[in-house]
């Protein structure tokens, strides 16, 4: 009698059920465990919506042949926000720039070196992914390898942007990997830092007060970075341009309302749309493959190697520095702002209760964001 009412049960597969459970887990982690809640909660809902069959929510406008009213809401967001124009991950950089305080890096520009060294994780994962492709274990080419490797930058929006340009079918899983590892910084980084540093090195006291940065320096920083980076790596322009624009809104002091909007309403609105789209980019057909586990493993390797690269550069800087230099702050070069700085702060205090490394750790932390934007530009220049 109710034949006209088509339920979703008939089309529900095991893959759908598994991913719905993953979505529920994300929601649990966001609400109960406070793991990256602003990202994992909308991603979880997007994931559930994408895997409930028969909704039509994922139908993209390009699939409808121009027929009006047939595209689904999430399909529209994915096509226009991520795949065709890629505006959502870029707009989020305006808000991130407005939220970022570069003063610790301006006070000690040499900390840029730590942000550069930590990018080694991206290169290791890039070559690792290619090796899996080479030996026929996975179907990873250069584009896929670059998209996976960028997870090591521990920068969600950069990962989303690069993947959407180079390997759009992997977008959902690389984004989730990036945000998950960012949420797990406190678990992943400490053993690596401990393995690479001695107790005496971890105890090294660094002056917590950095020199006072003038307003002029703060204003010139985003302008100098924007022009110099884009001249050197033009394809980083979308990321660096929006990031530095957002930061200029913050430091200029002339546009308080715009700065406030970028830091709150704007970034929150874009986060809702972006994370919902990311969750919806993971239907079972795309995710339930062995490659997904390899992506997660390679992302973890990238993150771990990035941490190690930063710490080793920190040890080198410790040897040549005239002032006391705690090598642990190198771990923050992977970005993951501000979680990795907090991890180093906590470890620093555990080793030496008089130590307060947070401000020193924030320098490499924001340098890592710039570093991953540069390497994203390099990947896009060569492969995009």
């Amino acid at each position: 009698m109710l034949g006209f009412l088509q339920t979703g049960f008939a089309d529900l597969t095991l893959g759908h059920v598994v991913l719905i459970c993953v979505g529920l887990t994300f929601i649990y982690l966001a609400i109960v465990k406070d793991f990256e809640p602003y990202e994992l909660l909308p991603i979880g809902i997007g994931l559930i919506l994408a895997n409930l069959p028969g909704t039509g929510l994922l139908v993209q406008p390009q699939e409808t042949g121009g027929e009006i009213g047939t595209a689904g809401l999430l399909g529209i967001l994915i096509e226009f926000g991520l795949l065709r124009y890629t505006v959502l991950p870029l707009l989020i950089f305006v808000g991130l720039g407005a939220l970022t305080d570069f003063a610790p890096l301006i006070a000690r520009p040499r900390l840029f070196l730590l942000g550069a060294a930590a990018q080694v994780g991206i290169i290791v994962a890039f070559l690792g992914a290619l090796a899996l492709g080479h030996f026929g274990i996975a179907e990873f080419g250069l584009e896929e390898a670059a998209a996976i490797a960028i997870i090591g930058g521990a920068d969600g929006p950069t990962t989303i942007y690069v993947t959407s340009r180079l390997a759009p079918e992997m977008m959902g899983i690389t984004a989730v990997a990036a945000y998950s590892y960012m949420a797990m910084v406190a678990i992943i980084q400490p053993p690596i830092i401990r393995a690479l540093t001695s107790k005496r090195e971890r105890e090294i006291y660094m002056e917590p007060e950095l020199r006072k940065v003038s307003k002029t320096e703060e204003i010139l920083f985003p302008i100098v970075c924007l022009i110099l980076i884009i001249l050197l790596v033009p394809r980083s322009a979308p990321i660096v341009g929006m990031f530095m624009f957002g930061n200029l809104l913050r430091v200029s002091g002339a546009v308080e309302r715009l700065s406030d909007t970028a830091q709150n309403a704007f970034i929150n609105s874009i986060t809702i749309l972006l994370m919902l789209s990311i969750g919806a980019s993971m239907p079972a057909e795309l995710v339930m493959r062995p490659e997904t586990l390899m992506v997660l493993a390679l992302g973890l390797i990238a993150f771990a190697c990035g941490t190690a690269g930063g710490v080793l550069m920190g040890k080198l800087m410790m040897l040549v520095s005239k002032e006391p230099f705690n090598p642990m702050i190198g771990a923050c070069g992977v970005s993951a702002v501000p979680m990795s700085a907090r991890v180093v702060q906590r470890m620093g205090q555990e080793a030496n209760p008089s130590n307060f490394l947070l401000m020193n750790a924030m320098g490499p932390n924001v340098a890592g964001v710039v570093g991953s934007a540069v390497i994203a530009g390099i990947f896009l220049s060569v492969l995009g």
């Binding site: 890096l105 301006i106 520009p109 040499r110 900390l111 840029f112 070196l113 942000g115 550069a116 060294a117 990018q119 080694v120 290169i123 890039f126 070559l127 290619l130 492709g133 080479h134 026929g136 179907e139 990873f140 080419g141 250069l142 390898a145 670059a146 940065v213 003038s214 002029t216 320096e217 010139l220 920083f221 100098v224 970075c225 110099l228 980076i229 050197l232 790596v233 340098a367 710039v370 570093g371 540069v374 390497i375 390099i378 990947f379 060569v382 492969l383």
Partner: protein, 54 residues
Amino acid sequence: MGIDWGFAAQIGGFGFVLVFAVLIMLALAIWLVGVIVGRVAASKAEGGQERERT
């Protein structure tokens, strides 16, 4: 899958070197800006003090 390892190594090696080069240049540029801004501020402060004295 056939991988062009020479090209891949170029991307990896050149990419890593370029990141270092770009960030070192940025560090130098930011340090230079700091020095110039500091000197300008110091000379302004000196000028102001002299004016006050005269």
